[in-house]
């Protein structure tokens, strides 16, 4: 399993959030999650401009095995989606923390980020799940 980048925050449901330099919050799923799901074959992306609420389903990723809801770690407005996933959903398998990002949110309350797990706490969660 690859290193968990220290600048990421996590939901227990395995989504990561990264605050970019412009203050926007980029969201994807963890490397652990993509490994559990297996080969991804389809990603249902949200609409740009849609308003989202923290902890609510925003996107769906489908592997050969199953469909999984992706929850937004923060409330706000979708300002961009990773269109490249339409043709290459497997990018999430290959680079979950980088090129496999899913959507970008303009957060309405950055304070919500404080409620997320930091990288160490997430690593511990994954560790416990594996045993």
């Amino acid at each position: 399993m690859s290193e968990i980048p220290g600048d990421l925050k996590f939901l227990k449901s395995h989504e990561w959030a990264r605050v970019e330099d412009d203050g926007l919050v980029r969201v994807g799923i963890s490397d652990h999650a993509q490994g559990q799901l297996g080969d991804l074959v389809y990603v249902e992306l949200p609409e740009i401009g849609a308003s989202v609420q923290a902890g609510h389903g925003v996107a769906v990723v489908e592997s050969v095995k199953a469909a999984s809801d992706i929850y937004s770690p923060v409330s706000g407005e979708i300002v961009a989606v990773n269109e490249a996933l339409n043709d290459k959903p497997e990018t999430i398998n290959e680079d979950a923390f980088g090129d496999g990002w899913i959507f970008l949110v303009r957060a309405s309350d950055r304070g919500e980020l404080n409620e997320l797990l930091d990288a160490d706490a997430y690593a511990e969660l994954v560790e416990n799940e594996d045993h």
Partner: protein
Amino acid sequence: MTEKTVLNDTHRALGARMVDFGGWDMPINYGSQIEEHHVVRRDAGMFDVSHMTVVDLHGPRTREFLRHLLANSVDKLKVHGKALYSCMLNEQGGVIDDLIVYFLGEEFFRLVVNASTREKDLAWIEAQAKAFGVQVKERPDFAMIAVQGPNARAKVIALLAEVDHERIGKLGKFAAAAAQGPHGMPLFVARTGYTGEDGFEIIVPQEHAVALWQALAAAGVAPAGLGARDTLRLEAGMNLYGQDMDETVSPWEANLGWTIALDEGRDFIGRKALEAQKAEGVKRVMVGLVLDDKGVLRHGQPVLTAHGAGEILSGSFAPTLNKAVAFARIPAGEPGDVRVDIRGREVPVRVVKYPFVRDGKPCEGI
């Protein structure tokens, strides 16, 4: 208690992702399910299917017993080693299990039944066998490895004793024979499978299974998990017990009419119910669906037709076709424009004749 096949440590050493499959700890993939799928379509892959149940039947009245037990007719089995696919029904015509029966001698037939139905199958078979004085013997001492793909047979044959090469090379489809494997191990080699590709299913004494697996790996046969096995069999149009049919479904409703032999005067279990259903008209049919749009068809999704709603049985992304396909059970009659409800969205699908894929290629009209 989770059961393990004799190859469990081998799978773990290969880094397999293990899952519970009907009470068995089995490999779902060894990295990428899609790559494993493709290797079987293009070259050769192997599956540990040792969780499946081998049952040997002995006794002078074994053929007579099987005429009664099975919906397909064992009288089609005339040559030693020949195999037959059949359903085993209850009195209501519902499917208790689907299985393969091998004719190994007038007093010796072998069944291979599903793992998930092992206990009820054995209980049913034993109960029915009593009246015929047939001995029912489970063979937990066997492991089973399926080697499938366009190059599968050649790779297996190269591992057999020289003297067996020609005979096993000529083995017909749906036939089996004994052969000598690496280090002289005794094998039962059947030209059968669950992928839509050519290949063998090999029954091997447990103590030789790891050595056989390793010899196959050294010969360039790639390990493949149950995930790939599921997408391969779906593309090949093969039913999965418990998902595509069960005891509440008759073979007519599971597109298995071709396995029912209504031969003159044979009183098999479920026959009366099947004949009544046929006379009355079968109310539900099983069809193939293709989704040309993006998305994935899944078990349990509602299917909307002109005659009412049905439901998806097996559904998945099909790696060979790069789109989703499914089996669905829907009300009989011209279905009209068919749609599937995917998370509240009605998505149009095409109703097709399946198999979807055969011998590595998409079938016509898919």
